[in-house]
Symmetry: D2
Subunit: 323 residues, 4 copies
C-alpha cells in the first residue's frame, strides 16, 4: 500500500503515477494499492505505523515555499524517523472550475485550498473581486463541493474537471505561471538509494544554543567542504520565539565523502541532527564538485594522513603535491 | 482608521488593544476607528491605498513559524513598501467552544483556522479522533459558525466564547502550551521610531545570484559587525525552485552604527534589499553589544580613519590603542 | 637630506635614484643631500629625529621574505610613527667580485651580507664549497674588504665592482634568478599621496587577545569588504612565544571606501592598529574591485541608509534594487 | 651522532643537553656523539644525508620571531622531508664578555651574531654608542674572537665566558628580558612520537593560487574543526613578490581526529602540504578542546554516518541527539 495526500486525482496522486514504484532502488516492500490520506500527517502516520510502505507528500513549491506541515512532520524528534527515497517535480496548473453552463459573471462563491488560493490571489482579486472565498481541505474537495452545488466555482487542477463533471471557466490562472511543486516519496529508514551523481541529501539540524553565529557555523560546515546548499528553511522548535531548527537540502549523496564529512560536522556541532535521506534529484542536475572535494580527493587525503600516522623510518611521504 | 486581521475579537484585535496608538512614537496620522480585514493582504492593502493609517498583522508564531502571507506581502517588491513601527508578543491560548449544553462526546464536527488546527492537532487527534474538521478563515469565524449551528464546536480564543455566547468545553488545548505569537504594526514609510536600546531591525534581502555561499556571505555581513540575527526565513521568489529571498530580523536599530553598516553591506552585495523598519522589541530585551561594536566604537574608529586621511605633517595619530 | 640603508652604491641607493624626490606627491620638505646609514634602525632614526626628510629602506624580498628589522621598526609602538609614501621594486642581481687577476679556483675566503649569502647559498656550496665565509654589514662593505685585501672575494651587486675597482668572477649567481626586492620610502606622517587606482595600504594590527580565531576575524574584516591582502607577516610582540602582531599590506588606498571601512573594523576589533600609509604600488597594477565594493557602491549604500534614517512620510525609498 | 647549530656551548647545545636522547619516544637510532654544525642548513644536511641521527636547531624566538633559515630549510620541497620529534623552550640570556681586566669604557669594538645584536640593540646603543660592531657567525664565535684578541668584547651567552676565559662586563643586557627561544629536534621521517594531550603539529602549506581569500580558507580548515593555531608564518616561495607558503603550528597531535581532518582538508585545498611532525609541546600545556571536537566526538559522528549509510530496514538511527 502506498499512501499520498489525497484525494484521488490530487497533485500528489499525479506525482506518484510518474514513478515506477517497483524500481528496486526505491526499496519498497509492498507497492500494490493506493491510500489517499486526508492530510500530510495522516499520510505519514500510515507509513510510520506500517499500514503503508511509503507516502508521497508535497515538500515545497516555487511560489508558496515550504509545505510546513511536511517539513515539521519529518523534523519531529518525538515521531519515528522517515527517509526520503525519491523526489518528483511537477508543474502545477490551476483552473477555475464550475458546473457546465455557469458564466464567470455569475460566480458569487469560490472554494479552494489555501495554497491554491495563495497562488491565484491576484487573478481572483481582479476577476472575481466580490466572490466569497471558502477554504477547503484540498482542491479536489473544493471541486467536489462545486459539483454538489454547495458553491459556484473551485480553483483546482484542470483534471479535477473531468473527475467531477465540471467545466473550465478559466485555465492557467496562477499569478506566477510556471510554478513547480516538489514532492517527496518517503518510507521507513532502510538502505539508501544508490549514488547517481545527481543526488540531494536532506537533514534537520537543531542548533545547540541560542547563540549568535550558530547558523553561520552550521553553513560553514557545508561550505568548507564544498557542499552546496539548495534549500534552507528555519522552523520554530515550538518552545519560544527565536528558537529554530533548520531543514537543509544539499547537493550530493551520503556516499560523497564531502557530504558525509559535512554531516559528521553537523552531528558534532548541533544539539541534534536528523538524517532525512540521500536520493536522486527530480531534475537530474549533476552536483557541482569544487576542486579538491571529490570523493577521490577525500580518499587521497585520508590515505596521506594515514600514511603519516603509520610511517616507518625513511619510508614516508610527508609532502603531498597536487597532480 | 487602523486595520487589522479580523474579525473583531481576534488575536490581532487583542494585540492592537495592548497599544497606545496615540503615542507619537508610532507616527500615526489618524488613529480613530478600527477596520477588521478578512485577510492579511487586505489589511495591508488598506494601508497601502491610504484608507488605514496602520495595520496590525501576525508575523510569526513560536509553534507554527512564519506567517508566510505577511512575510510575502511585506517582501513583495511589486507592492508599495511598508514599515514596521512596533511589535507585540501575545501568548496565544486555544479552547474548544461549543453551544451551551453540548457534551464533548457529542462533538462530531469541529471548525477552526488552519494555524489553530496545527497548534492543537494532537489534542484533537486524541480527544476527537472521529470529528470532521472544517477549516474557517479565522478562529472567530469558526466560533460564529458554531453559534449559527452549522457545526458542533470551534477551536478558538477563549474570549470568542463570550462574544458568540458559547461555552468552553476544554481550555488550553494547544499541544505546546506557552505558544507566543508576534504581531507587527505597520504603516507607510516615515520617520523611524526612536532608538530605545532594545530594538529590532527587519529587512528582506534578495540574493544576487543563485550561487552557493551567497547566504553565508549575507550572514557574514551581520556577524563581522557583531549584529545578532533573531530570525531568518527563506522565501521563494516565485520564479523557480531554489531561488530564495531572505526575511531577516536582527537586534538593534538603524541608529546603531553596526546595524547601519551591516545594512549598507547588504545593499552593496544583494540584488535588492527592502528595509522593513527599526522598532522597539516586544520583550524589551536590550541588544547584546559585542566589544568594539557600540556606536561610540564606530564613531571613534571613523574619526581615526578621517584623521589619517586629513592629517597634516607631524600632527597625526596613525596609531590607535584601545583604552 | 634623504637617508637610506647604505653604503653609497647599495640597492637602497639604487632604489632612491629611481625616484624623482621633488615630486610634490611625496610631500618631502628637503630633498637635497643623501645620508647613507649603517643600518635600517639608524636610517629610520634620522627621519624620526628630524635630521632626514625621508628614508629608503628594504621591506621584503621575493626570496628572503620580510626584512624583519624594517617591519619591526615600523611596527614599534614605542617609537614615533612613520609613513610609507612610495614603494620601489628592484630586481636584485648578485655577482662574485674579486681583485683583478684572481682566479675562481684561488678563492679561499668570501665575504657578504647575510641576505646575499642566503640568496646565493647553493651557488656558493657548489662552486666554492671550501671557501671560508665571513658576514659583513652590507654587500658594499664586503666589496670594500676585498678591495682592501682582507678577503679574496665578495658577493655583491655588480655595480660595486666599478666602485671598488674589482672584477666580476661570476655574474648572476643567485639561486633564484629574478629575485625582486621591495623598498619603501618613509617619512614622518603627513598628507597621504593621492589615490591612483593602483595603490597599496599598510598597517600593523595587534591582536586583542591570545584567542584562537582572532586572525581569522581580522582577515574577515578585509574579505567581507572585498579588500585583497597582498602580504601578511606575523611578528612576535616580544612578550612571550605565541603573541603576535600582524603586518598587513592590502590593495587599495584609504580613499577607497572599502579600505577605510576595513581599517575602521580593525581599529574596533584590535588592541592596537598602526597605519603605515597608502601609496602607489611599484608595479602599478590596478586594484581588483569586486562587484559592490567600489567607492561609488559604498556611497550609494550609505546614502540609501541615510535616507532610511531621515525619511519623511510617504517620501522614502526603503527598497534598493541594483541597477 | 646528533648534530646541532654550534659551536659547542651554543644555545642549541644547551637545548640538546636538556633532553634524554635515549628516550625511545624520540626514535633515534644512534645518539652517541655530538656534531656542532656551522649553520642551520649544514646541521640539517647532516641529518638528510644520514651522517647524523637528528639535529637540534632554533625555530623561533619571542623577540626576533621566526628563524627563517630553519623555517625555509624545513619547507623546501626540493629537499628531503624532516620531522620534528621534540621541542625545547629556553630562556635566552645575553651578557657582554671581555678579556679579564677590560673596562666598559675601553670597549671600542663588539662582536656578536645578528640575532643577539637584534635583541640587545638598545642596550648597545645606549651604553656603547661609539663601539664598532662586527657580526660573527655565532655568539660563541664572537667570544672566541675576543679571547683571540681580535676585538674588545662579545655579546654572548654567559656560559661562553667560562669556555673562553672571559669576564662578564655586564649581564642580562637583552632589551626584552625574558626572551624565550624555541628549538626543535628533527630527524628523518619515522613513527610519530606518541600522543600526550599536550602536543603540537606543524605543517607547511603552499597556497594553490594567488587568489584573495586563500589564506582565509586555509585558516577556516582549522577553525571549523576547533583546532587552534599557535604560530603562522608566511614565507616567500622565491618565485615572485606576493607568492607565499605558510608555516603553521597548531595545538594537538595527528592522532587527534580534529587535527587529522584539518590536515586532510589542507591536503585537498592546497597546491602542496608538507607535514613536519606531531610532538610534545615544550611547555606541556594541554590542548584546548572545544565541545564537539574531541576524538571521541569525531568517532561517534563517523559511526553515526556509517550507520546511516549501511542501515537496514527498520533498524536505523537517523537521529543523533547530544548527551
Amino acid at each position: 500500500m502506498i499512501s499520498y495526500l489525497g484525494p484521488e486525482g490530487s497533485f500528489c496522486d499525479m506525482a506518484l503515477r510518474s514513478l515506477d514504484l517497483d524500481d528496486p532502488a526505491l526499496g519498497l516492500a509492498a507497492t500494490a494499492g493506493r491510500d489517499p490520506a486526508p492530510s500530510v500527517p495522516q499520510a505519514l502516520a500510515r507509513v510510520r505505523d506500517g499500514q503503508a510502505a511509503a507516502a508521497m507528500v508535497p515538500l515545497e513549491n516555487s511560489v508558496e515555499g515550504a509545505v510546513t506541515r511536511t517539513v515539521d512532520e519529518l523534523a519531529d524528534l518525538d515521531a519515528a524517523p522517515l527517509q526520503v527515497v525519491r523526489e518528483v517535480l511537477l508543474a502545477v496548473r490551476f483552473a477555475l472550475l464550475a458546473r457546465p453552463g455557469t458564466q464567470l459573471a455569475a460566480v458569487a462563491s469560490v472554494a479552494t485550498h489555501p495554497h491554491a488560493q495563495a497562488q491565484c490571489r491576484r487573478w481572483l482579486a481582479e476577476r472575481l473581486p466580490h466572490a466569497q472565498l471558502t477554504l477547503a481541505a484540498s482542491t479536489s474537495e473544493a471541486a467536489r463541493m462545486v459539483a454538489a452545488g454547495e458553491l459556484d466555482a473551485a480553483v483546482a487542477a484542470p483534471l479535477a474537471a473531468e473527475r467531477y463533471g465540471l467545466a473550465l471557466l478559466a485555465d492557467d490562472i496562477a499569478d506566477s505561471p510556471g510554478a513547480v511543486t516538489r514532492f517527496v516519496l518517503v518510507r521507513r529508514p532502510g538502505p539508501l538509494p544508490a549514488w547517481t551523481g545527481a543526488d540531494r541529501t536532506s537533514v534537520v539540524a537543531y542548533i545547540a544554543d541560542d547563540r549568535p553565529g550558530a547558523l553561520l557555523e552550521l553553513l560553514t560546515e557545508y561550505a568548507v567542504r564544498g557542499v552546496n546548499l539548495t534549500r534552507i528553511e528555519s522552523r520554530p522548535t515550538g518552545r519560544e520565539l527565536g528558537r529554530y531548527c533548520f531543514s537543509l537540502d544539499c547537493e550530493g549523496h551520503l556516499d560523497d565523502a564531502r557530504v558525509a564529512e559535512a554531516l559528521s560536522g553537523l552531528r558534532r556541532g548541533c544539539a541534534a541532527v536528523r538524517f532525512l535521506g540521500s536520493y536522486p534529484r527530480g531534475d537530474a542536475r549533476p552536483a557541482q564538485v569544487r576542486a579538491g572535494t571529490s570523493s577521490a580527493d577525500f580518499a587521497a587525503a585520508a590515505a596521506w594522513v594515514a600514511g603519516l600516522r603509520n610511517q616507518t623510518r625513511d619510508d614516508a611521504a610527508p609532502t603531498a603535491v597536487k597532480g
